[in-house]
């Protein structure tokens, strides 16, 4: 039992740690939609795109093409919303990018993917001029 609680406490500490670390990307006045997308991102995207959304996920050790840095305002600004949605839905190959970016249509709904495109625009601060 002691061991179990120890592990739980550790896990919780690790989790809060991780959340605290990428506050910059998600802090501030979060709408429920943004918060929900952030959670989806943590589950599916951060493994490659990084817990800080900077393209440096734990899995990049096994990747020959590096994932997009979603925190890069300049780089992400040149990515049209339609292309983001296509890449997330049908994978990198569908937009002539690396097939190492998988298709997520079997896991995420159309609505979740559209919300994710909004979330990515929020993360890269791409709409600040507007």
């Amino acid at each position: 039992m002691m061991l179990r609680y120890g592990i739980a406490a550790l896990a919780l500490a690790a989790m809060t740690g991780a959340i605290a670390f990428h506050q910059p990307a998600t802090a501030g006045t979060e709408s429920p939609k943004i918060a929900a997308s952030a959670h989806v991102y943590d589950t599916y995207c951060a493994q490659c795109h990084g817990v800080q959304r900077n393209g440096k996920g734990v899995n990049t050790i096994g990747l020959s093409v590096q994932p997009r840095d979603h925190s890069d305002t300049v780089g992400m600004s040149s990515l049209p919303r339609e292309q983001m949605i296509k890449a997330i839905t049908d994978g990198g190959a569908s937009v002539n990018k690396s097939a190492l970016m998988p298709a997520w249509s079997a896991v995420l709904s159309k609505e979740q993917i559209e919300d994710m495109a909004d979330y990515l625009t929020y993360v890269c601060k791409c709409n600040q001029g507007k």
């Binding site: 896990a11 989790m15 991780a18 599916y44 951060a46 493994q47 990084g50 899995n59 998988p102 997520w104």
Partner: protein, 238 residues
């Protein structure tokens, strides 16, 4: 604080599941030695032994161990018996890699020291547990004979695994080679049944609708080759 908020209902759900299990697995004839009773009492706190009724994303975030409700379609008995006595790390990032991930340069890392260690049991218990685990079936998710050994081409499969299809992004096919958000596969030849490997790779969401392995677009020949490669891993060392 999401984790905390869901804990109460989850515990409740878990104990209900245990209760349901206990009722469900007791065959009318042999009450006292109901198969699965040992599993239920010792393992159900961390592992789902029946298909979860609420397969939500929150469940994936709060579960303490991988699902075992399809263990009978998944594991080789020899591996189970050996592993239960001497567990090794299968998921380098723990049950949910995110909980152990730390941001860093040049990339995020896993805090390996915090990854859960598995309880071990003695040989006799391991044998009994293995038999109980092998009685847990998925009810048709793993068609018998889907993998055709004669069509497998491990060399082509390796190419698919490491380059073309990007499995190596999330899975290690040798210790230290590959991503860490999924289970290592370098001993998959000992651990996993080929028909399970092909069924899981074809459609991971059949096993859990929210798991973070995507459904990759793979043709049947692709699947056969990759499965041939995956199930050849770790064979030589046994």
């Amino acid at each position: 604080m999401r984790g905390l908020a869901v804990k109460g209902p989850l515990l409740l759900a878990a104990s209900t599941a245990v209760a349901v299990m206990a009722l469900a697995v007791r065959p009318a004839s042999v009450g006292a030695q109901a198969p699965g009773s040992e599993l239920t009492s010792q393992c159900a706190s961390c592992h789902a032994l029946t298909k979860p009724a609420d397969a939500t994303l929150d469940r994936l975030w709060s579960r303490k161990g991988p699902d075992l409700w399809y263990a009978g379609d998944k594991f080789n008995r020899d591996w189970l018996v050996a592993w239960l006595q001497k567990p090794t790390v299968i998921r380098p990032g723990g049950v949910l890699w995110f909980k152990h991930a730390k941001p860093g340069e040049p990339r995020d890392t896993i805090d390996s020291a915090a990854v859960e260690k598995h309880p071990a049991v003695d040989a006799a218990t391991a044998g009994r547990l293995a038999d109980q685990l092998l009685s847990l079936k998925s009810d048709g998710l793993v068609p018998e004979g889907a993998f055709k050994p004669e069509a497998a081409n491990a060399a082509m499969g390796k190419l698919g695994f490491s380059k073309l299809r990007g499995c190596v992004a999330c899975h290690q096919d040798a210790p230290g080679t590959g991503g860490v958000s999924g289970p290592e596969l370098y001993d998959a030849g000992q651990r996993l049944r080929p028909d399970y490997v092909i069924a899981y790779t074809r459609n991971p969401q059949q096993f859990d609708p929210h798991i973070w392995m995507p459904t990759l677009t793979l043709s049947d020949p692709d699947l056969q080759r990759i499965t041939g490669y995956v199930t050849s891993l770790g064979k030589e060392s046994k």
